[in-house]
């Protein structure tokens, strides 16, 4: 082991020689690589959709894909509007709604460049005006739009319309609130739901010329082939085109252009919710927050570097290095073709904050040696000899901590892990390779050295003085320090048992953000924003025309709505349509609002429904009546309430629907939709946590043991590194911060970073012990040599993490606080607990030794 250390050390020592003698080659190589990376930056993609969190073969995702394959996209913009005159049925309100509906539906006729309009993604727009309506008047059946062109004119007509609308089971809380103050406009889109094979048919087909058609002709033969693929087979699951984040942004922008028109905004106030507004908001926000985080961290770094070195070059070079590291990471991500989530912000931060640490260590060493009267070249060599290995080791441990997240089966976390780790390594490589060349061009000491005798004296003074106050505490009061840390750790461990795993994208938005208000409004007055889909695959063509099956579906809906009145707002399925149609066939007789018991009667009822309203039929059941969907609208549920609901659904299905297996042996019932996806994610988060940090901890401990070359000290070293983990969970539990995809990042990041301090401290300690064998003296020396850098890097990181407090996402704010607190805990533990432990352990070993060398 010692051998490897020596060899590594020699290798790093050699770097300044090598890069200097190949000065131009190095610069050109760097520039070429940077140009290559810059070219990749343009390919950078963002994707924060829920589906992007899952692996391809994940069952919940497969069920969701199947759902989209059969029923089309489920991404809607639900615009809730408030009537300024208090009545969404007033002529003014209805006129405005119809105007918006027409503009959205007929955008092609209204815009100059319809081909490029974001509204091409609209598949349908449904409002109270064009809601499908089946009316029966004695022996007449009328299937029509609910209002259509005939807007009400008189007060009485308005009231009549309101009463009629209230009677439609699926209208209230979807198209209007029961007090008529709010209305709802549904924009259906094909975001993330366009099968890739269908792409060739969509797109530019507006102005077909004769020349276009023969091309199309080849695709669609006059005779279709016989069945070659089965929509239910495993083979047939179309890949869906991924919607780019900027599409959401431009889509929502175009919608606001319409909504902001005075003819609409004078009468209505709008509150859009749904995935597109959420994505658009997150994207917009992420961009501005990324800028803010970069700027904040850069300023912080510049400030710290200035305080530390008081030299322009000492600020400029490190900042340039981390900036280039960032470009390289972005380029790597771009070239990889993989989409990133908003966790990219954390990568930015890590590359900047962790990357700068290497530069701090090397620069402070360099200045230290220059102050020791070494020449520029000698100082560079000396610092590489002394600090490079430690920088390398800390970069490796940090990367390992990050890479441990590869084990979590959540795609964004895996990508985050790989790219953040590569960023840390880039920063290390660029620092080590470029810094000597940069210092050759311009170094922080050349002028000052001539002017001042000891420029470092006054500078380091206050930090050193501060640190010196603590340097003896560890070994003077181990009997106090160790119990205090133990008690604190116990409190935190108890606190950590209260950690709740919960994820709720909306809940995570900070209060007061318009989007969050909109969601709250929809939950309060309308149908809620949560969504759960139950897919019933009978395995038989026309299985859904069986009255027993439809009855079972109907009972499930009744059960959910009566058992969870506070969670489930609406449910809808083919059973509802069968009941409505049967009632209509009996001239609106309420007693006939039932599912016909006779199979043929049901078949003919459904035939009537399908003829009258093929669009609604397609939304509810597959063409062959084999697969149906039960849609459940719920309030925006966190994962805890969601789980309760899901468990109820599952056990109900087990009890009441599974018996149908006797008649339908191939019956399968699966749940999908946003809620199950969210719950699956939670499932991963809770148990993957243990595994990922367990492995990281093991690997890092092994590295510690190898680096220190001493099992005893290695084991001691692990203890202060457990504390930040306990702190993260304890604080989460005590302050009720949920464990979610954001706060999940804390531990792997902190494990890797916290151990850096320990490595620095113990490397010095070991050298001192080898040199003097004096325990207390070694602790004091280590404190003085490594303490300053430890405190500084920790402060940079802790304050850096606090920049995330400004995020509009509570998850990131919690992430920032937790990381900062954990890092500071790690530093305190390294400066107080570690010496105390070292003292106790080492003293026991060499109990004969008593001499105490007092400092100064």
């Amino acid at each position: 082991m010692a051998n490897i250390r020596v060899r590594l050390n020699r290798y790093f020592e050699n770097i300044p020689y090598v890069v200097r003698s190949n000065r131009w080659k190095t610069w050109i190589g760097f520039i070429l690589l940077t140009v290559f990376m810059v070219a990749g930056v343009g390919r950078f993609k963002l994707d924060i959709s829920m589906v992007s969190f899952f692996k391809e073969k994940e069952p919940v995702k497969l069920a969701y894909d199947r759902f989209r394959a059969v029923f089309g996209g489920d991404e809607i913009v639900y615009i809730v509007y408030e009537a300024k005159d208090g009545n969404v049925f007033s002529p003014h309100s209805l006129k405005a709604v119809r105007g918006i509906q027409d503009e959205l539906l007929n955008f092609r006729l209204l815009t100059k460049s319809p081909e490029t309009s974001p509204f091409n993604r609209i598949t349908d727009v449904i409002t109270i005006i064009n809601a499908s309506y089946l009316e029966s008047d004695r022996d007449t059946l009328i299937s029509r739009d609910f209002i259509g062109d005939g807007l009400p004119k008189t007060e009485a007509e308005v009231r009549g319309l309101q009463q009629l609308a209230l009677k439609q089971k699926d209208y209230p809380k979807r198209y209007f609130s029961t007090d008529f103050r709010y209305g709802g406009l549904i924009i259906k889109t094909d975001f993330n739901a366009v099968p890739i094979d269908a792409l060739q048919n969509s797109g530019s087909n507006g102005n077909l010329t004769v020349d276009d058609e023969p091309e199309f002709e080849k695709i669609t033969d006059t005779e279709a082939d016989i069945i070659s693929t089965d929509i239910y087979s495993e083979d047939y699951l179309p890949k869906f085109e991924k919607t780019q984040m900027k599409e959401y942004l431009s889509f929502m922008k175009e919608i606001s252009v319409i909504l902001d028109k005075p003819e609409y905004s004078d009468h209505l106030a709008f509150y859009p919710v749904g995935n597109p507004p959420l994505m658009s908001y997150a994207f917009k926000n992420m961009m501005s927050e990324m800028g803010m985080i970069m700027l904040g961290v850069l300023l912080l770094i510049i400030g710290v570097m200035w305080i530390l070195f008081r030299s322009f070059s000492a600020v400029l070079w490190p900042v340039l290095i981390v900036a280039f590291s960032l470009v390289w990471v972005m380029g790597t991500i771009g070239w990889s073709g993989l989409a990133m989530t908003e966790m990219y912000n954390v990568i930015v931060f890590l590359v900047l904050a962790v990357g700068i640490a290497d530069a701090i260590h090397i620069l402070s060493g360099y200045i230290y040696y220059r102050n020791q009267s070494l020449s520029h070249s000698d100082a560079v060599l000396a610092v590489y000899k002394k600090s490079c290995l430690a920088c390398f080791l800390t970069s490796i441990t940090t990367s390992i901590g990050l890479l441990s997240m590869v084990l979590v089966p959540i795609i964004p976390l895996q990508r985050f892990a790989v790219f953040a780790a590569s960023g840390v390594i880039y920063a290390f490589v660029l620092t080590v390779v470029l810094l000597p060349l940069m210092l050759d061009i311009w170094n922080p000491v050349s002028k000052k050295k001539a002017e001042k005798i000891s420029p470092s004296g006054s500078r380091t003074h206050f930090i050193q003085q501060f640190i010196r106050r603590f340097e003896t505490i560890g070994f003077r009061f181990p009997r106090i320090i160790i119990p205090i840390f133990t008690v604190v750790a116990l409190i935190l461990i108890i606190g950590s048992t209260n950690v709740r795993v919960e994820s709720n994208a909306i809940e995570n938005l900070k209060d007061g953000i318009p989007l969050k208000n909109a969601y709250n409004l929809v939950d309060r007055f309308m149908g809620g924003t949560g969504n759960l889909e139950i897919l019933v695959d009978t395995g038989k063509t026309n299985g859904l025309k069986d009255p027993i099956v439809l009855k079972a579906i109907d009972d499930l809906q009744t059960y959910l709505q009566s058992s969870f009145p506070d969670l489930v707002v609406k449910t809808f399925s083919l059973a509802d349509m069968a009941k409505d149609s049967f009632k209509a066939l009996h001239a609106g007789d309420l007693e006939k609002h039932i599912i016909p018991e006779d199979e043929i009667t049901l078949a003919q009822t459904l035939f009537m429904f399908e003829s009258a309203n093929p669009k609604d039929r397609r939304q509810l059941v597959s063409d062959d009546y084999r697969l149906a969907r039960i849609g459940i609208n719920s309030k925006n549920l966190g994962s805890i309430k969601g789980l309760k609901l899901m468990n109820a659904v599952d056990s109900y299905i087990e009890r009441n629907l599974k018996p149908l297996v006797a008649t339908y042996p191939d019956l399968t019932i699966t749940t999908t939709g946003q809620l199950p996806l969210q719950l699956k994610l939670m499932d991963y988060i809770s148990w993957s946590q243990v595994r990922s940090f367990g492995i990281a901890l093991t690997v890092i401990s092994i590295i510690l043991l190898l680096v220190l070359g001493c099992i005893r000290i290695g084991l001691v070293a692990i203890i202060p590194n457990l504390l930040p983990i306990v702190t993260a969970f304890g604080v989460m539990g005590i302050f009720d911060m949920p464990l979610d995809v954001h706060t999940l990042l804390v531990v792997p990041i902190v494990i890797g970073i916290a151990v850096d301090d320990t490595i620095h401290f113990l490397t010095h300690f070991r050298l001192e012990m080898q040199a003097s064998g004096d325990l207390k003296q070694s602790i004091i020396r280590s404190y003085r040599e490594a303490g300053q850098a430890i405190v500084f890097t920790s402060l940079v990181l802790a304050f850096g993490f606090l920049v995330f407090l400004f995020s509009s996402n509570k998850g990131f704010s919690y992430f920032g606080i937790l990381s900062a607190v954990s890092i500071l805990t790690a530093t305190i533990a390294d400066l107080l607990l570690l010496p105390a432990l070292l003292f106790v352990v080492e003293r026991n070993r060499q109990h004969s030794e008593k001499a105490v060398v007092q400092p100064d």
Binding site: R108, T140, D145, L208, I219, D225, I227, D230, D624
Partner: protein, 292 residues
């Protein structure tokens, strides 16, 4: 003739021969609309619909086609045979057997189509109205991708026509004519325009592409298996490809006969409700198929 009837169904399928020389597109379409289609017609029809995907530039059904078989009887009325009445009854599938339609189409543009539907399992006749006044008709024909508008006869004056090309299609010389509804017509139509491939020699529409209200290509209708029966051109296979819903309906004329005697009493609600009466008449009409 207007609105939805079997007669109109046939108008898409039956066309007469005519001379072909340079003429304005409106004249061409006039000839297409006014081709001979017989005074009465009996047909046995199979409609099958499937959901499809496009793979390797070919359409493939991804589920079992839903097949419906029905019989239809049509008779034209009026001095110029401009109005028509028809009865359609479903034979298959079993659950829908006996469901019947009675429909009156009127040439008078102000008169709405009259449509009744009979539900055999309930023993009820219902008058059917689809869509508000002055708005496009909603609903589908027998749950297929064919909508009522697709099968109604078009009034020549409701559209303006433009010859946009000449092309060989299905090995026939064709005119390619774009027809655009007048603003008045547009209000009631699901389509903002159509492009039609017209067989120069036989005045048959071999292919139509229909564009939705937003100007997007919505449906593609192709006709094939053309045969002359009783001096009337019959296209026995029609494919309606809904490009939006990715569904394909195949309309097959299993057998058809023209110009046999049909009692006017057949076109009453009694035919729907009284299966004995209906069967008696149908038995006779079926005999005429022998001449096919």
């Amino acid at each position: 003739m207007k609105a939805f009837t079997t007669a109109s169904l046939s108008t898409l399928l039956i066309m007469t021969t005519s001379l072909s020389f340079a003429q304005p597109p409106r004249e061409i379409m006039k000839k297409v609309n006014e081709r001979k289609d017989g005074t009465t017609q009996f047909s046995k029809i199979e409609l099958s619909t499937c959901r499809y995907t496009v793979a390797n530039r070919k359409i493939k059904c991804i589920e079992k086609s839903r097949v419906k078989i029905m019989e239809s009887v049509r008779k034209d009325f009026g001095p110029a045979e401009q109005d028509s009445k028809s009865v359609i009854t479903i034979l298959e599938p079993a659950g829908e057997r006996g469901i019947g339609f009675l429909q009156f189409d009127w040439d008078d543009p102000d008169r709405e189509t009259d449509q009744w539907m009979y539900f055999s399992a309930l023993g009820k006749v219902k008058r059917i109205i689809s869509g508000n006044e002055d708005e496009p008709k909603t609903g589908s024909f027998f749950g297929t991708e064919i909508t009522y508008e697709d099968i109604e006869a078009r009034h020549l004056d409701d559209y303006t026509y433009k010859l946009i090309g000449r092309e060989v299609y299905q090995e026939r010389d064709c005119w390619v004519i774009q027809s655009t509804p007048t603003p008045e017509r547009l209000k009631k139509s699901n389509y903002s325009k159509s492009i039609n491939w017209i067989d120069k020699e036989r005045y048959l529409t071999l292919k139509s592409i229909l564009f939705n209200q937003q100007g997007r290509r919505l449906k593609r209708i192709t006709n094939s298996e053309i045969k002359k029966i009783n001096e009337i051109w019959v296209m026995r296979n029609m494919l309606v490809n809904n490009l939006e819903t990715k569904r394909l309906t195949t309309f097959r004329l299993l057998s058809t006969a023209f110009d046999f005697k049909v009692d006017d009493q057949f076109f009453t609600q009694r035919t729907l409700t009284d299966s004995v009466f209906r069967e008696q008449n149908l038995k006779q009409y079926r005999l005429s198929l022998g001449s096919r």
